[in-house]
């Protein structure tokens, strides 16, 4: 059988398992925002096909699966038919605590032939704050509960002790239980479909190898046309008044791309640290976008990208550094700095920087006798492009999640929106101006705890080729007795207080 056919069929296996996960999960993050992904992995741990819907999951399996298999091998743990291993340890899985990873071996005629790997964003993974995102966290232990690799299934039977431990610590146990069942269901669907492939076509390892070769060939066909050399770039991540440098030396050669982060800030006592999986994802995202066109998400493409990140830095922290926002904000800046380096190699092809923040808004409290919590992200402007202006009011880089309709949010939470408009004039000026950010404003109708996790509040997204930077974001609280600008922090709001959030515009392209 031709490898192209096996390759397409395998892509659909990942896709179908992904649907099984989404359909039976309960977290809105998974069902509505598609914050999950599933991969088919061969017996050697190479990604053969992956269904992912938001870029931050791109590449995190490449690191996560290798880490987990290495760890199991080191401990001498064998995976038998019907076993499943679960972990949310970001230092293994490669994202953050909310992303629970499950690895499920696929046996065919008594032989291990593949794995199904899945990852899903649980609404809560324990810890002191709703949603396990804590702007004040100094270590991972103030964010949530770390579950090291455990066999959650043993020969098809659920491991009650492990399950009990997880459900006792994740603050929304019923939801977590549903999400876990969904992941296990997706694993079974994926495994059954992989076995169908083997039944139908015989051992397809050879076709899979060709599919991986193809991914590599296709990526290199483009990268090989880029001018070889070393391209330096630096961007900064703003946090609590500090500007943390992220430095990149990007080497392009015929054989691939190496991103070296020597010179980047040391890890910080804040949730901003990005584990290596996140850094790899963000670099891969930028490279893949620059390649453009169709490219299969498999080991072949991943093998073209190498990341060197010194240990103990913001982009490869050492436990117990907190990592919750590394996934959200640092990932955005790593993508930005990679684009900046690429713009030097490929002048005229890379846009200026987009808003570069997910502008995470977490709210909660007690209202009408009930605990409520609400999380949203807000888009901004995309950067001006060589052939035209940036786009206004849109998510860029590592996220693409939908907004919550105002009419739905107002029905369910004690908030009343006062504005949702394009923030005119926030895009950087240029021959092709940056897209404008968003103004989103609301009053709270009950005492509320508000947390913001954001960046680009101090320096705006950069322009290119003489284009001006976009305006930085701003969060303002209007209350009786005054107006106050806040940063990434947690504040208490009184009934009637108004919060006005302005997101950054994109940088401009070319002299105005």
């Amino acid at each position: 059988m031709r490898w192209e056919i096996v390759h397409r069929a395998t892509e659909y296996v990942a896709e179908e398992a992904g649907i099984a996960l989404r359909n039976s999960a309960f977290s809105p993050n998974i069902r509505e925002r598609m914050d999950h992904s599933v991969a088919v992995v061969d017996a050697e741990g190479r990604i053969i096909a992956q269904a992912e819907h938001i870029p931050v999951h791109l590449g995190s399996f490449h690191i996560g699966v290798a880490n987990l298999l290495g760890r199991l091998a080191g401990e001498g743990v064998d995976l038998e038919d019907g076993d499943a291993v679960l972990t949310n340890d970001p230092y293994i899985s490669g994202t953050h605590l909310n992303d629970v990873m499950v690895l499920y071996p696929v046996y065919w005629r008594g032989r291990l032939v593949a794995y199904i790997a899945s990852k899903a964003h649980y609404v809560d993974a324990g810890g002191p704050l709703p949603a396990s995102l804590n702007p004040r966290a100094k270590t991972i232990y103030e964010e949530g509960v770390v579950v090291p690799p455990v066999k959650i299934l043993r020969r098809g039977q659920i491991n009650r002790e492990a399950l009990g431990f997880i459900l006792e610590n994740f603050k929304t146990p019923a939801v977590a239980r549903g999400d876990l069942e969904a992941q296990l269901a997706a694993s079974r669907v994926g495994a059954a479909r992989v076995r169908d492939l083997f039944e139908k076509f015989g051992d397809v390892s050879e076709q899979w190898r060709e599919a991986v070769e193809y991914g590599r060939r296709l990526a290199l066909a483009e990268v090989g046309k880029w001018p070889a050399g070393r391209y330096e770039a630096e961007d900064r991540l703003d946090w609590a008044g500090e500007l943390l440098p992220i430095r990149l030396s990007l080497e392009i050669s015929e054989g691939g791309i190496t991103a070296d982060f020597e010179g980047t800030a040391r890890q910080v006592e804040a949730p901003l640290n990005a584990v290596l999986g996140v850094t790899f994802s963000a670099v891969s995202f930028a490279v893949r976008s620059a390649i453009g066109g169709h490219l299969p998400t498999n080991h072949g493409f991943y093998s073209v990208v190498k990341v060197k990140a010194p240990e103990g830095t913001l982009v490869n922290p050492v436990k117990p550094a907190a990592v919750g926002a590394g996934n959200l904000e640092t990932s955005q800046r790593v993508a930005d700095v990679t684009f900046l380096a690429l713009s030097k190699a490929l002048p005229g092809r890379i846009p200026a920087a987009g808003s570069g923040t997910m502008m995470n808004v977490m709210m909660g409290g007690v209202w009408r006798g009930r605990y409520w919590s609400y999380y949203e992200t807000i888009g901004g402007g995309s950067g001006g492009r060589p052939n035209g202006p940036g786009v206004s009011g849109v998510h860029v880089n590592m996220t693409n999640t939908l907004n919550t309709p105002i009419e739905i949010a107002e029905r369910e939470y004690p908030v009343r929106f006062t504005a949702y408009t394009i923030r005119e004039g926030s895009g950087g000026r240029g021959r092709h101006p940056g897209g404008d950010g968003i103004v989103r404003a609301f009053k709270v109708l009950a005492p509320t705890t508000l947390s913001i996790i954001a960046s680009r509040l101090e320096i705006g997204p950069w322009g290119l080729e003489g284009g001006e930077p976009g305006r930085p974001g701003r969060v303002t609280v209007r209350r009786r007795g005054g107006v106050k600008t806040i940063g990434s922090e947690t504040v208490e709001l009184a009934e009637g207080d108004e919060v006005v959030i302005e997101t950054p515009g994109g940088g401009g392209y070319g002299r105005p």
């Binding site: 896709e15 870029p55 492009r385 786009v391 939908l402 009419e407 949702y420 968003i438």
Partner: protein, 648 residues
């Protein structure tokens, strides 16, 4: 009585004429895209008719920027502070890895969005009444800016439309075309409701004038004309002119309607319709003779693996026949990419220049060329009037490798693509494809049906009579369907009765009731059919069953009925299909055909096959505009109404 179905496509306008004697004729005329009524009138002038049923892509084409169908200047009036809801949309980008992505072009530029002081709360309380003097003043400003059509959308108007209604009243004194969002789509979620209103406002002048011209012509000839809606039902010209938003995508819906009606005649309760033509393949599900509908649709949007890509088009909240679309058809191009992989589509040679073997200038090999060199279609088609150039097809395929190997692999790839996409959209909706029969039509559908079915785990295939023009027949089989809906009904039973009272003027034969329901706090709804017992408890029970079937679990939580919807159905007399002859002994010819190797296949002429006749694969059954491929291990039986049933 003579019925004419007209399907105005981008390239051709297709006519199906059914005379009083049940005889079916077809006609094809080139469309003039900037003046779509021309081909319609030209075609009608040559036939007799009492009723004309009409489907068109005029709305979609205008939104996609068809030259000559320029949209008018549209203004949008909304709640102060929320001017850009229609621009921000859901804040996502339609393509993840495309640095040059664009949002769809804004129908209403920012300077024509007017904010008005007013506010309604989620429970329907009017916190601030609309300032009508302000509306009046802004209306004058819009008028002097050359605005022709206006839409008005206020927050929470689904809960209480009084502010919106009052504003629309003022606007009607200034403009001929006014759309209030609660009338266009009475449901929650501001972006989708506002977008529906804006699209409707943009289409009203254009579609209104077009329909009026056709109506005048048909009336002058003593006939009547009705329009096909995207829900798969027919509506009156007045209703279509008032809410033209329901006309977009009405053409493809007709195929599923045809499948549903044929399923009803055959008593088939679970059918997947599979319509494969020159450029795309479309699949829909029919359960208990009703096409599945969806309210999530984006006009002019893109689709990926059969599903609409969010943010790629203009959302329209109206019931649409639920279709999964794949870029795969007879004209789909076979190629190799920079990585050396054999690829099929998404580019298509379409009807012009078409496949290489058509000899009309096509140079890239297509799926039709692959089928031809493998012997799966005869080298003379369209009743022998058109000869295909086998050698040219083979030469074109040889550029990609061994022509037979390339052709066979390309067909496997395209079958896989279609099968998996259809499988995904059925599995996604909680349906098990193994329980369905695949009903295949369109020019290319019957060639691929058996292998597509096998790939998706289906072991029965039905081929309707005249599969090449079956979609156009669908319109003649449709019933009238008028829609009304309501958001967050306090008492659903009373709500349904209220909606049915509103629709009573159409004198329906029966009503279809649906409810969009979710668990409190969920961000999405499931649509469930509702019966005579429309109590909250009965709806809850139906919802929980559907939820369990779709997602695999139930929850101990309150349910919320978000929207209820009623269709008033008025039945129409259907054209009758004839049974095949009772006897006959068809003589097959023999032909070399490729199925994992060359093999001798029997070739039958479909109209010669008598009722109950059985054909064993490998075989081909040929007719004027289509060929049915019966692979080895499959058997085909001629059933009533001439339907071919293929079984594995």
């Amino acid at each position: 009585m003579s019925l004419v179905g007209v399907d105005v496509g981008g390239t051709f306008t297709d006519f199906v004429i059914v005379g009083g004697d049940g005889e079916i004729k077809t006609l094809k005329i080139l469309t003039t895209p900037r003046e779509p009524e021309r081909a319609v009138v030209e075609g009608l002038s040559s036939v007799k008719f009492s009723e004309v049923l009409h489907a068109s892509t005029i709305g979609t084409n205008a939104l996609l920027g068809q030259v000559g169908l320029e949209l008018p200047k549209v203004a949008f009036f909304t709640t102060r502070g929320f001017r850009d809801v229609i621009e921000i949309g859901r804040q996502n980008r339609p393509r993840l890895y495309d640095l040059y992505f664009q949002k769809p072009r804004q129908i209403v530029p920012r300077e024509l969005r007017f904010e008005v002081d007013e506010r309604t709360l989620p429970d329907g309380t009017v916190e601030r009444a609309v300032d009508l003097r302000e509306v009046e003043e802004l209306a004058r400003r819009a008028k002097s800016a050359g605005v022709v059509s206006v839409a008005v959308g206020f927050l929470h108007s689904y809960a209480n439309p009084s502010n919106e209604e009052a504003a629309a009243g003022v606007l009607r004194r200034h403009f001929e075309y006014v759309t209030a969002s609660y009338e266009a789509a009475w449901e929650a979620r501001e972006y989708e409701r506002f977008s529906t209103a804006v699209v409707n406002a943009a289409l009203m002048p254009l579609v209104g004038r077009y329909l009026a011209k056709l109506d005048d012509y048909v009336k002058a000839r003593g006939g009547r004309i009705y329009a096909m809606a995207s829900s798969g039902g027919l509506i009156t010209i007045d209703e279509a002119a008032r809410r033209p938003v329901q006309l977009v995508e009405s053409g493809p819906a007709a195929g599923v309607v045809a499948a549903a009606e044929l399923a009803r005649m055959l008593g088939e309760r679970r059918v997947i319709s599979f319509d494969m033509g020159g450029t795309t393949a479309k699949a829909g599900t029919v359960v208990d003779f009703e096409p599945a509908i969806t309210t999530e649709y984006e006009v002019g949007g893109e689709s990926h693996r059969g599903r609409t890509v969010k943010g790629s088009g203009y959302p329209v909240r109206f019931p649409f026949v639920d279709l999964a679309e794949v870029s795969a058809g007879g004209g789909t191009i076979i190629w190799r990419d920079a990585g050396g992989a054999l690829r099929v589509g998404p580019l298509s040679a379409g009807a012009e220049p078409g496949p290489v073997s058509y000899g009309r200038g096509g140079s890239e090999p297509t799926i039709t060329d692959a089928n031809l060199i493998l012997g799966r279609i005869p080298s003379a088609i369209a009743g022998g009037r058109m000869r295909l150039d086998v050698e040219a097809a083979e030469r074109a395929l040889a550029k990609l490798g061994d022509p037979v190997d390339v052709a066979a692999s390309a067909i496997k790839l395209v079958d896989l693509e279609m099968a998996r996409a259809i499988r995904l959209v059925t599995v996604e909706r909680g349906l098990d494809p193994a329980q369905f029969a695949l009903m295949a039509f369109g020019g290319a559908g019957p060639q691929h049906a058996a292998e597509v079915a096998e790939e998706m785990g289906v072991n029965r295939v039905l081929i309707p009579p005249m599969p090449g023009v079956f979609t156009s027949l669908g319109m003649l089989m449709a019933d009238f369907k008028f829609e009304a809906r309501m958001a967050y009904p306090r008492d659903p039973a009373a709500g349904f009765e209220e909606l049915e009272r509103r629709l009573a003027r159409h004198s329906p034969d029966y009503f279809l009731r649906y409810a969009d329901v979710r668990y409190a706090g969920q961000g999405w709804e499931l649509t469930v059919p509702v019966g005579a017992d429309a109590s909250r408890d009965a709806i809850r029970k139906a919802f929980e069953e559907r939820h369990a079937a779709t997602y695999g679990f139930k929850l101990d939580r309150d349910v919320e009925i978000v929207t209820i919807r009623v269709f008033a159905v008025v039945k129409r007399a259907k054209p009758r299909l004839r049974d095949p002859p009772k006897s006959g002994s068809p003589e097959p010819s023999e032909k070399e055909v490729y199925f994992d190797g060359w093999t001798e296949a029997s070739v039958y002429v479909r109209e010669e096959l008598p009722l109950g006749f059985e054909v064993r694969g490998p075989a081909l059954i040929i007719e004027d505009y289509s060929t049915t491929v019966v692979p080895p291990r499959w058997r085909a039986t001629v059933g009533k109404l001439g339907v071919l049933e293929l079984r594995l």
